[in-house]
Every structure is written in C-alpha cells, then in structure tokens.
C-alpha cells in the first residue's frame, strides 16, 4: 500500500487537498509558520510527512520558512511552504532569492483580507499583484489560482511540475474560500499523476558551470552533497556562479534569461478555462473561488437568453494576455470580478478597450452571489 498517494474518492478540506497534492507529487520537506487560513496545510503535513519518510519543520517566522525550503530544495528534495498575506509579505525577500538562485519550490498563499493583519478569516484575492511584484527586481513568476478542492490537489501537483521544469518558485494563489471549503476530491492512481523531476547534470567535472543553461534556457540543477562543489549566490552571477556585481553585460544576460525561460514558454505554462465563449457578447473574467459564482451566473444569464460567457484564468502569472486579448476583441462587454479593490483588472485593461471593461470589486464578504453577478450581466446587456 502506498502511503503517499491516497488514490480514491474523498470528502476533503481544500487546504488538506493541497497538502495531499504535495505528498502525491513527492514533496518530502515542508517548513512553515502557523497562519490563518493556511494553518491546516502545515498541520496536515506535520502528521503526514513522517508517514512517508519526509520532514516537517516549524520555523521561527515565514522568512526562515522559505529560507529553509530553499536550503532543502538545494539538496534535491521537493520542498514547499504555505502561508497567508502577512507571511507572504515576509517571504518576498527570499522569494526573490529563489528566483535568482533558480530554486524549484512551491509556495502556497491562502489569501485573506489585507493590508496588514486585515481580516484573517475572510477570503480575498488581494495578494495577486504582490505575487508578481512583491519582491524587488525584474522577474517572471508562475502563479496558479485553484477554484475547487479538486484543483487544490491538481494545481499543487502542477505547481511542483512547473517549478521543477523551469527551476523557479511556483505559487499556488488560493483563497480562504477554497482553502476552507470541503467538497469531493478524487485522487487518481499513482501512474495517472504526471510528475516532473528537475534536470540533473551528468556528472561532476572541472568544467561544470552550475548556471549554464540548455537550449530551453534552464540550467540542469546540481545538488549539495553530490560532489559538484558549486556556488550559488543572490548576487548577479555568470554561468559559473561567480558574482559579477559590476558587469552590465552579465546582469542583462542573467535577468533576460531568468525572465525568458518563462516568457518564451508561456504557451506551455498558461491555462485558462472557458464556458460559452464561442458566441458570447458579454465575457465575465473571474478566477479562484470567485469563478464558482460567476459560472452559475453565466448559466442563469444563458437561461434568460443573454449571450454571456466565462473566461477563467487558471494561470494568473504569466497573465493569459493572448487569451484575454482574443476574447476582448470580439465581445461587447467584459465584467471583471475579483475579491479586491482592483488588481488583475488592470492586466485585462492592458489587453482590451478599457471602455468595454466593468470592474466589480468585493471586499470582506463571503463571496459574490450569483444573483449579484447576474444583475451586472443584465445591466451590461441592456
């Protein structure tokens, strides 16, 4: 019997489904710090990781948590941490370090109301811009937004695969609603779960350059304790890992590569789900927990003969620019729904005629009701 993949049907909490997704993908290291509404992920990992021979450690804060995850990942172990807004803020510094040192790791942010301590038990999508721009410096980030307990599992697996493929941190930008939702989860058979492992260099040699990329812009990753004796630094570095604090050429080459390894693969990374968009005149754009109400609202609108459709970014970073631009071209109205005071709507407006775009913010409540959204669709259809 396999202890790491609990194949079968479950009735499970979103946060726990996320932890099970991590275990199923081979995650064997978790470092975290308790925070509402992500604590259940840590609690579940502390119980389950020893069962599969993995390690749970609780650190003194979120800064140390992501730092320890980076250290563990550098030994070759799939590693993750989970947090919420205030902890996510503390993690930004070392999220930048993970980008710079090309460290595969998964960071789950179960979003709650902010800024500051905000509303710990209320859902929000207030961290989506921070996910992209929270750490200083240019970078591309991969971030996924689950809409169901099933996706808490599936997208955690996907986040690990993406982080291993591109040697970068991958974020699961969940929200409290999904983290604390209980619903059906089907865990597939082990052989049906697609797993990706980071590329490894062939063997230690005197000419080994730890940050020399292959054609796909991703360098194979050596790990500590394997005889490579390599150097990783948060300073700008060349292919050998040697710091180049003054060279414009090395800085340009490195930053371009770190961004391009994601930008040039965006078609492989970006996923959206759509519903009734073929002939739609009104497009609702919603992600994460919000998309659930939006789906119902769009169905009701169709019942009433309104040509409404839904575009749901599953990947929020890189932003699905092409997909949004294509829809924006042919619909009359775009309604953007997010549980914040206007974040991804700005990305939509960059790809659409802003006069078509209506933004409906929502803060501090459980969720938009389908009737609220339907009302907005009806107003646009008049």
């Amino acid at each position: 019997m396999r202890r790491d993949v609990l194949t079968g049907r479950h009735f499970m909490l979103g946060d726990i489904a996320c932890a099970e997704g991590a275990l199923a993908t081979g995650c064997r290291f978790f470092a975290g710090y308790p925070i509402t509404p992500a604590t259940e992920i840590a609690e579940h990992m502390s119980e389950r990781l020893p069962e599969v021979g993995g390690v749970y450690i609780q650190m003194e804060d979120e800064i140390a948590s992501i730092a320890a995850v980076i250290g563990a990942s550098y030994t070759g172990v799939k590693s993750m941490t989970a947090t919420s807004g205030p902890g996510f803020s503390l993690m930004q510094e070392n999220l930048g370090l993970a980008v710079m040192t090309e460290t595969p790791l998964v960071l789950v942010d179960v979003q709650r109301g902010g800024p500051s301590t905000g509303q710990p038990t209320k859902t929000s999508q207030q961290d989506v811009m921070q996910a992209k721009w929270g750490a200083h410096g240019d970078k591309e980030i991969i971030a996924l937004a689950p809409s169901s307990v099933q996706e808490m599992f599936d997208l955690t697996v996907e986040a690990f695969n993406l982080s291993e493929t591109y040697r970068c941190p991958a974020l699961v930008m969940a929200d409290e609603l999904i983290g604390h939702l209980r619903e059906k989860l089907v865990i597939p058979k082990t052989e049906e779960i697609r797993l990706v492992e980071r590329k490894r260099p062939k063997a230690p040699s005197t000419s080994f350059a730890p940050f020399k990329p292959d054609a796909d812009q991703v360098p194979p990753m050596a790990c500590f304790g394997e005889g490579y004796r390599f150097y990783a630094t948060g300073l700008t570095h060349d292919e050998t890992g040697s710091p180049e604090a003054d060279s414009a050429e090395v800085q340009t080459e490195l930053i371009a590569r770190l961004c391009d390894k994601i930008r040039k693969n965006r078609d492989k990374i970006v996923k959206v789900k759509s519903m009734f968009l073929e002939d739609a005149e009104i497009c609702v754009i919603a992600y994460g927990g919000v998309a659930r109400s939006a789906m119902t609202a769009v169905r009701r609108a169709r019942d009433k003969g309104i040509k409404a459709g839904l575009l749901r970014p599953v990947t929020i970073w890189p932003f699905p620019s092409k997909e949004v631009a294509e829809v924006a071209e042919r619909v009359k109205h775009i309604i953007v729904l997010e549980m914040n005071y206007g974040q991804l709507v700005g990305e939509v407006e960059r790809r659409a005629d802003y006069r078509k775009v209506t933004f409906v913010p929502k803060l501090g409540e459980v969720l938009y009701t389908p009737m609220e959204i339907l009302g907005q669709i009806e107003r646009c259809s008049r």
Binding site: E60, A64, A67, G225
Partner: protein
C-alpha cells in the same frame, strides 16, 4: 619544472574575485577554517558552507565546497533546510556580527534552541564594513562609526552569552591574533554534534580601526594581543569585550540531543507504528 602549488589550494574555489581589504581579519579566518578542514580530513564533497551578506558573506564563494550565499541574515535558516534534508553533511555558516545578530538574530536564537547540527562562525568586526562602517549590534560603547559620529550610546551584545543562553552546545571566542587556538576551536566546533558557535574578534582597520585610534592593521593586531585575556570555562555572562579587555576562550562544551537525530527518531517511530497497523 612543474608549477608550484600551495598544498591548501585544493580547498579554494578558482575564479571567484576576492574583495577583502589588506589587513582584514577575514583572510585569517578563511585560512584557519581551511586548515581545520585539512587537519580533520573531512570529505570535501560532504561539506556545505553558507554565508549571509557583508564582507565575510563572500566567504562561501571562496571555499571549494558546496556553497550558498544567501540574503542578509538568513543563512542560518537556509542552512537549517540543508541540514534537515541532508543530516549527513557538515553544514557551516560563516557570517558577520550584523548579519547574524542584528537582521538575523532571531534565526540564530532559534537554531541554537533547536540544537540543529550547524557550526556558526561569526567574524565580529564591530561594524558594517561593506557599507562603509556604520555601527552595529556589537559596536563598543563610545565607538566611532559613520552613523555614530559622536560616539556609540548602544550597549553591545555579548554574543557568546546569547549563544549559551539560547542552547548552543559549544561556544568559544577567539581573535584573529589567536590563529592556532582559533583553528582548534573551529575543529572542535565542526566535530561537535549540535549547534556550535565560534565568535572571532576580527579587525576592520579600514572602516572601524582608523576611526577608533587604530590607524592600521598592525595597531589593530596589537590591540587584540594586548587586551585579550584567556579565561576558559568562565561564565559567558562575564566574558566581556571592551576596549580595555577582551575575554577569550572556550565557554561551553556540553552534550545534548541533536535536532536532526531527534527528527529521524520521530520519523522511525511513526513508520514503525504504521507498519504494525498495516500488519
């Protein structure tokens, strides 16, 4: 005739630019660290060196080991991840007083409290040298720095007292004048099971010395020589560092269960319980 090679060259990474000023104590620390590795005959493939930010932060780049140069103050936390994931490795953190005890102070306290098997080596030069010599958590009272132009009014932290209180199993302080004793302490620390700490009073002639009546490296070295008092095993609370007296020696050497050993025992316990349950 074949090219002359220093026998310790194999411990140094090639091609990384060296940045330390002449007269800096960090070179002595690097030399004694390498001597310690050499004398212990450790498998260099199983040694990981991590450092934070600052002059001594470049240390990890210079040793021919697996090396990680982390963000400011966070190297102990990164090292904890390395050690927990690979307990068989010898994991060493080498960093400065500001990095380890101002911005990174909390990580130091909690790693010592857990007794995770790291060796932490602190180069204490009384100031933030790389940014031009500002005062830090160890700057002596009335010390002059670029941000205490009228003299420092903050009490310096006694690093060995803190390490002992937080739970370190090995605690020593030497100066770069005491090169051989320092090497011995590093060797002991590297072999110790648990959290070991070696503080090294290390002159920064360029930024601290010349602002505090020690005009050059020789003056700095003379100060360390003349004011150091060896007091092994005294209460670390009394192990002061001041302009007139620097207490050096070995203050703590005790045994306590190490963190990764305890973790492994717990994992084994859980797995054994499961095996019984599953029959």
């Amino acid at each position: 005739m074949s090219e002359l090679k220093h026998p310790l060259d194999v411990y140094m990474r090639k091609g990384v630019p060296r940045i330390w000023c002449s007269g800096c104590g960090d070179g002595i620390i690097l030399k004694e660290f390498i001597n310690a590795l050499n004398e212990l005959k450790l498998d260099m493939d199983k040694v990981a060196v991590l450092s934070g930010i600052g002059c001594i932060g470049r240390f990890s780049g210079y040793t021919n080991t697996d090396s990680f140069h982390s963000t400011h103050g966070r190297s102990i936390a990164v090292a904890t991840g390395v050690k927990v994931a690979r307990p068989d490795l010898t994991v060493v953190v080498v960093s400065g007083d500001g990095d380890l005890f101002a911005i990174g102070g909390n990580h130091f306290i909690h790693a010592a409290r857990r007794n995770v098997g790291l060796t932490v080596i602190c180069s204490n030069n009384f100031n933030y040298g790389m940014t031009g010599g500002q005062f830090g958590p160890t700057t002596l009272l009335e010390g002059y720095t670029t941000t205490t132009p009228y003299g420092n009014i903050e009490n310096p932290l006694n690093l060995v007292y803190l390490a002992a209180a937080a739970g370190a199993v090995y605690v020593a302080r030497w100066t770069t004048y005491h090169a051989r004793l320092l090497r011995g302490a590093i060797k002991k620390a590297l072999q110790k099971k648990g959290f070991s700490f070696v503080e090294i009073i290390s002159p920064c002639p360029q930024q601290y010395g010349r602002r505090n009546k020690m005009e050059n490296p020789i003056e700095c070295m003379k100060w360390l020589k003349e004011k150091s008092v060896i007091q092994n095993r005294i209460d670390p609370a009394k192990a002061e560092v001041g302009i007139d007296k620097i207490v050096v020696g070995e203050f703590v050497d005790i045994e306590k269960p190490e963190f990764t050993d305890l973790l492994k025992k717990k994992i084994d316990f859980v797995q054994e319980k499961l095996r019984k349950k599953e029959g």
